[in-house]
Symmetry: C2
Subunit: 121 residues, 2 copies
DNA sequence: TTCTTATTTCGTCGATTGGCGAAATATAGC
DNA sequence: GCTATATTTCGCCAATCGACGAAATAAGAA
């Protein structure tokens, strides 16, 4: 019972739904998600922790970033079923569409003020 | 977005999940549900209002009782999908099993201290 | 019409939650 | 080893939520 309600609770916040819809597009780091959602890093980190704790998403270090991605092959069938459900939902939602467009253009190098590496000439 | 998170939120409380699992068994009134859940009538009434507000359940008057039942043919596909999901889940859960057994024996006439009608002799 | 009763609504309380900024942590780069 | 930085954790605040009892409502029964 706790497991199921915990899964539903994780999906009951709009920002966490937005995060999942964004991660359907591609892997993202905290600073990119925070940039798109326009939330504090700490808030995003907390939301991601909730989702990671349900195993709906996975994290891994990539340089100085921590990347988050969906976990569609989660061992838990309930997680898989809910992720499949949310995958089908909200694809015509205006906010989701805007977030998706943002995901395609968001750039962590710009957010973190990283100078592009010089091309060898 | 609001619609989806509202549905997930409705399912994120253990007692509301228990109510839905009980209603899979049969239609019930507030006093029967309160008896099984061991909650105040007002609390049960509020939980039922949350569920009715999502259209996952329907109510109708039956004498002095208000009966509640599942709405598996809800107009909203998302409601139908979630009800189908919860139908498959938790069927081995100890609490759900106990609640189901209680549903089969709970009797509103006993709860409300109604004297059975005398049989014609 | 009045009385009784199942239910709903209201108000209060303590617990939980989502937001933020600050502090702490992990670790890449030099 | 030190510095810089992305992220996580902590602490606080306001809003929300689930529990209860009391009051209000709806309506059945007499």
């Amino acid at each position: 019972m706790r497991r199921e309600t915990k899964l539903f609770k994780a999906l009951s916040d709009p920002n966490r739904i937005r995060i999942i819809k964004m991660l359907q597009e591609r892997e993202l780091c905290v600073c990119e998600i925070a940039d798109i959602l326009d939330l504090a890093y700490s808030t995003v980190s907390k939301h991601l922790a909730v989702l990671r704790d349900t195993e709906m998403i996975l994290d891994r270090k990539a340089g100085k970033w921590v990347n988050y991605r969906l976990n569609p092959d989660a061992g838990d069938e309930q997680v898989r079923e809910l992720l499949a459900l949310v995958q089908q939902w909200l694809n015509d939602d205006a906010t989701v569409r805007a977030d998706r467009a943002a995901v395609r253009s968001v750039d962590r190098d710009i957010i973190c003020n990283i100078t592009p590496k010089k091309e060898n000439t």
